[in-house]
Subunit: 341 residues, 2 copies
Amino acid sequence: MIQNDLFLKALNNETVERPPVWMMRQAGRYLPEFRALREKYDFFTRCKTPELASEITVQPIRIVKPDAAILFSDILVVPQAMGIDVELEDGIGPIIPNPIRSLKDIEQVRIPDINESLGYVMDAIDMTKEMLNNEVPLIGFAGSPWTIFCYAVEGKGSKSYDKAKGFCFSEPVAAHLLLQKITDTTIAYLKEKVKHGVNAVQIFDSWGGMLSPTDYQEFSWQYINQIVEALAPETKVIVFGKGCWFALNDMAKSKASALGVDWTCSPKNARYLTGGKITLQGNFDPSRLLSPIPTIKKMVHEMIDEFGKDNYIVNLGHGILPNIPVDHAKAFVEAVKEYGK
Amino acid sequence: MIQNDLFLKALNNETVERPPVWMMRQAGRYLPEFRALREKYDFFTRCKTPELASEITVQPIRIVKPDAAILFSDILVVPQAMGIDVELEDGIGPIIPNPIRSLKDIEQVRIPDINESLGYVMDAIDMTKEMLNNEVPLIGFAGSPWTIFCYAVEGKGSKSYDKAKGFCFSEPVAAHLLLQKITDTTIAYLKEKVKHGVNAVQIFDSWGGMLSPTDYQEFSWQYINQIVEALAPETKVIVFGKGCWFALNDMAKSKASALGVDWTCSPKNARYLTGGKITLQGNFDPSRLLSPIPTIKKMVHEMIDEFGKDNYIVNLGHGILPNIPVDHAKAFVEAVKEYGK
């Protein structure tokens, strides 16, 4: 049994004395210990070496002490396993040297055997579980099919993913074929993670907010929902769609156990849009961690008051930024632990 | 008197037989005629040479025939006039070589004499008015203080403007000083445009959607509202905040005559959030112009049905993309003109 089960209780809609807290990208560059490993090993080496991935996963648990761990990895290991080359360029981010731009490209994308191509992730889970020794729950994750599609078609990060969107709008049949392949792979991938003991999974839809509500249904949500339907019988599923406030109402009707919210959607709006009961997760503006510590603590307490302490998981509204002082990250977590005291 | 006054009627909440239409960035790279001038003259030469700016402004009126013209210029001419160096790098966008990062930097930013530093814009308006010969109304515009601030502090375009936001959150007093200077300059700038005969002004808050609702009030809306208050007695003011659905309710209570909406906010949500009556402008996803022409026309008609033909200005939800075929842009405008026929 997990010793600190606050996170699992919140996912189960159980009453808690204070909400659990973790931070997206909590295993990241703001930690000097992470940066030390980053200097020695490149990105995919860190992802693909279970000793490194597990060590990086556990670093924030020791240092900033959140209530859940999230496996260090990257959403782009999935398209990589599907035969799409992914490179990481320092200071630029991920690059797909041969972006997917035709039906022929898509036909060549494979649905991989998970243990063959992503076994290193499973090894990292096994090793992390051992290191965590049931102290806190472990979250596994994947990108949403739409978000993976964005990278695969656009070829790199973008402000608006116009190429990816243009492809959907001019060649919808081909687009859906690729989205379905990513979905099938993701389902198998997350199921395997559950077999290896992750206590919940989160789907990151980083670029869903680029779509209109109607296009979101067609190109993103229907695929996320396939994943939710497939995984919900086996584990708790959290869906986080950045900028997807307009879809919260539909998401709340799905089998997801919790929904992530970003900081542009106020707690009041988020509760209103989701009917008030489903567990919500978020939504502190990551840049707000640059505020003075007393301001951070005050804002965290106000945020908990607004979401309510139950059916709520404290988190940022997106990943923690590399330039956040560790003390400020610690203050964020401490503020939650001090809530109501 | 303006011959085609549909746009002005919509701003006046008058009943129309069909809504007016124009497109953000309608004088832009998708037009071969624009690209021809772009090859010969660099960006700021085009902005600062009234003969070029007016010619570029009128190009789309002749080619795609929208119901309003918008003066070709750039929001960054304002910080440039305030003594902040702005360069435009091909393929990268605007660069501020010496970003504003301290109170001392801000103290050195000047509030310029408009006619001295931005007289070329007024000359371009005079020349454009003559060329338009009262055929359609002319819109003048400015960036919101927050959006100008983002560029000035960040130093370049960004996905999340973390440096600009971090500056606000760690040095709010200094941030407000700069925001007020930009606001004062913008008010004087837009008033001068009105004197030269623009028929309406639009404020572009491109990066307001990076802020939480509370921070939006503090760092963006209060300054936009100063501009609205100052300009509303003299002209019609349109406020467009990209990603600012959460602020639509407050915006609707201001003296703005119309509010821009992006495609992530459905017509139904936009009407609900604004109380149903204020003129709305938008919100076709620019990428959707890559759809086949029959799809574009169908979607435009559905959009008008959803917003309602009155108190509505058809537009995109952001600027038209450079890769849109001219025929598709024409189809967008034609679809509006065919509405109800």
